[in-house]
């Protein structure tokens, strides 16, 4: 196993710059998830690490070795492909040991490894089948097995779960998390699914338009997004964003007829704000609480007599829609809040969870 260092990585097709200078250090044994919308350059970055794409500028190091000019087979990496890329003419067994055979390890080790992998992934009964005779979930497990059988420095995952149905995807996500906990390999995992990113990553790298927006632990990304893009990309349902104006005189952010005092939002640094500056106030739906079930709400942002437009019950949770200062907002409350549509409700928000962004640059204030 090894660490991976990416220095100022650039990739362009003709005039189209896909990856615009990425720097990233992945520690030995760390599980890093690259997440972002499609076309953000995350897969291209992964493929450059794998050697499947040429590097235009910058450097990729695996261990302490620059691998820029090494072809994939010389990089000692393993990869799980989005479409699995199983060899259709080989059985499951042959697929799994295909890479091992090339490394000239002894027959005995190959057999041991095969037994170990097939037990771990519950493939024992499928070893003599061909990929065409397997279900989607089984193929996915074979693809995992083929990668895990290798003794690679780095394990790469290119959206490995995106072709599975929701239930199977959840199951395999848990499996991958378990496997990583056991084997502790350096892993780089690309996905567009923020739930996978949050649940699997030791660290999450949020990318957009060929650049890294933020790197951090999942909770760090969730609670302290650096900008509007990260804030809205991570979390479901998406963070509410309210357009507001800074009023220096009254020390408030005005949301049309509603307002919130800057004193309350003590973590927001207003030193650089001028009177009349446009901001966005971000509140995750999860951070609204029903006043009746919350203690010590004296320091909270109080929202009295809110008229509920819509209630969407989800079982344990329910999502309610309403307006603050004429702007549309969603909140998620639990089972206890027995609220009906067109009824009023008193809500509170922990001011520490309220984020303020510069409306122009999208950066956190």
């Amino acid at each position: 196993m090894a660490k991976v260092t990416i220095k100022n990585l650039v990739k362009a097709y003709n005039d189209d710059v896909i990856v615009k200078g990425i720097n990233l250090e992945i520690k030995d044994g760390e599980f890093v998830v690259l997440v972002g919308p499609s076309g953000c350059g995350k897969s291209t970055t992964l493929r450059m690490i794998a050697g499947l794409e040429d590097i235009n500028e910058g450097e990729v190091e695996i261990g302490d070795r620059c691998v820029n000019d090494l072809q994939p087979h010389m990089r000692n990496i393993a990869m799980v492909f989005q479409n699995y890329a199983l060899y259709p003419h080989k059985t499951v067994r042959e697929n799994i040991i295909f890479g091992l055979k090339k490394t000239r390890v002894s027959r005995q080790i190959i057999d041991e490894r095969l037994a170990h992998i097939s037990t771990m992934l519950q493939l024992e009964n499928l070893l003599d089948r061909k990929p065409a005779d397997l279900s989607g979930g089984q193929r996915q497990r074979v693809a995992m097995g083929r990668a895990l059988a290798r003794d690679a420095d780095v394990y790469l995952f290119d959206e490995p779960l995106s072709n599975l149905d929701a239930k199977l995807r959840h199951h395999m996500r848990t499996e991958i998390a378990k496997i990583h906990k056991r084997v502790q390999t350096t892993s780089i995992y690309v996905t567009h699914d923020q739930v996978e990113a949050m649940t699997l990553g030791d660290r999450v790298v949020v990318m957009q338009a060929g650049q890294i927006e933020q790197v951090g632990t999942p909770m760090d990304i969730y609670l302290n997004p650096r900008n509007i893009f990260v804030a809205t990309f991570i979390g479901s349902p998406s963070m509410n964003l309210l357009s507001a104006v800074y009023d220096a005189q009254q020390q408030v952010f005005k949301i049309n007829d509603a307002s919130v005092s800057t004193e309350l939002l003590s973590q927001v640094n207003t030193a650089n704000l001028k009177d009349g500056d446009q901001v966005k106030i971000g509140i995750r739906p999860d951070f609204f609480d029903d006043e009746r079930f919350t203690q010590d709400t004296e320091d909270y942002w109080q929202l009295k007599n809110i008229m509920v437009d819509l209630v969407e019950p989800l079982g344990f949770d329910k999502e309610i829609s309403f307006h603050i200062g004429g702007q549309y907002v969603k909140a998620r409350l639990d089972l206890r809040s027995d609220i009906q549509e067109d009824d009023p409700i008193d809500l509170v928000v922990d001011p520490n969870r309220v984020l303020v962004f510069d409306a122009e640059t999208g950066e956190r204030i």
Partner: protein, 288 residues
């Protein structure tokens, strides 16, 4: 290793095409220019040559044999191209329907195309044989259309028609294959929509099938022209007296009074025509 991955890939690419490129350069590209060069010489079979300038071309233009070969070629092309295309289209329409043993019938229809020329020409010669052939039997004794048995292949004029029919027989399967593939890709809802709009089978053929098949028919026509312009074996082995251009070249180059320079000159002319057709094919058909 200082090359980046793209350069390594390009190097592998060059290495992989090298054998094929070498053979093509040596046996096609070089000969094309060598041919042009030879066409200005008087060339013997043993390789002796003397410069004669444009004389070969002058001879060519004043040679009745050349014009008659040209004319034969035009008739041959017109007959075979029309025949293979029409028959190919008809058979494709016919076999696009469902009926028992469909696959077997399709495979059998392809048989003439894959059969070696040499193994079928004698069968055809036998059919038209003046003494034993079934053609004369049917024409003379059964139908009474012709009063006496004829040597159909022995006479160049009638042999041309035999050669055309033979070519249609042998090559319509490829037209059939190409058109059938296209027919099968036409979505059936187009026919259904056309039927709902009140068109009968003929109307559907005119308004759906033909427009959809236009490109593939164009391809068939041009490819058949290009390949039949080069066709040698089928004609020569069945009836060497039908002198299309390739056969005329062959006779000039290797039999009777050998004049390889003249043969080279004819080849040059034919190659120019051919290149024009290929250019047209690439420009028009492939870019449609």
């Amino acid at each position: 290793m200082s090359d980046n991955i793209a350069a390594q890939e390009a190097r592998l690419g060059h290495r992989l095409i090298a054998p094929a490129a070498l053979i093509i350069a040596l046996l096609i590209l070089y000969p094309i220019f060598f041919n042009l060069y030879l066409s200005f010489f008087d060339v013997e079979l043993n390789g002796d040559k003397s410069l004669v300038g444009l004389n070969n071309y002058k001879t060519l233009l004043s040679d009745g044999g050349f014009y008659s070969a040209l004319w034969t070629t035009v008739i041959y092309l017109a007959g075979t191209v029309t025949g293979t295309t029409v028959l190919g289209l008809a058979v494709a329409l016919l076999l696009n329907q469902n009926f028992p043993f469909k696959n077997t019938v399709r495979a059998l229809v392809l048989l003439p195309y894959f059969a070696p020329v040499i193994s079928v020409v004698f069968g055809w010669q036998f059919i038209f044989d003046p003494v034993n052939g079934i053609y004369n039997h049917v024409m003379v004794e059964v139908l009474g259309l012709v009063s006496e048995r004829q040597n159909v292949i022995g006479d160049p004029d009638s042999a041309l028609w035999v050669v055309i029919v033979f070519d249609i027989w042998k090559h319509f399967p490829i037209a059939f294959l190409l058109i059938l593939a296209k027919l099968q890709s036409i979505p059936s809802d187009q026919y259904e929509a056309c039927a709902i709009d009140g068109y009968n089978a003929w109307g559907r053929f005119i308004h759906v099938t033909l427009p959809e098949c236009r490109f593939v028919i164009g391809t068939v026509v041009l490819l058949r022209m290009i390949w039949n312009l080069n066709r040698f074996e089928d004609v020569y082995l069945l009836a060497p007296n039908v002198e299309t251009l390739p056969i005329y070249i062959y006779f000039q180059a290797f039999t009777g009074v050998i004049d390889q320079g003249l043969a080279a000159a004819i080849s040059v002319v034919q190659l120019i025509v051919l290149s024009g057709l290929i250019w047209f094919y690439v420009k028009k058909v492939l870019n449609w």
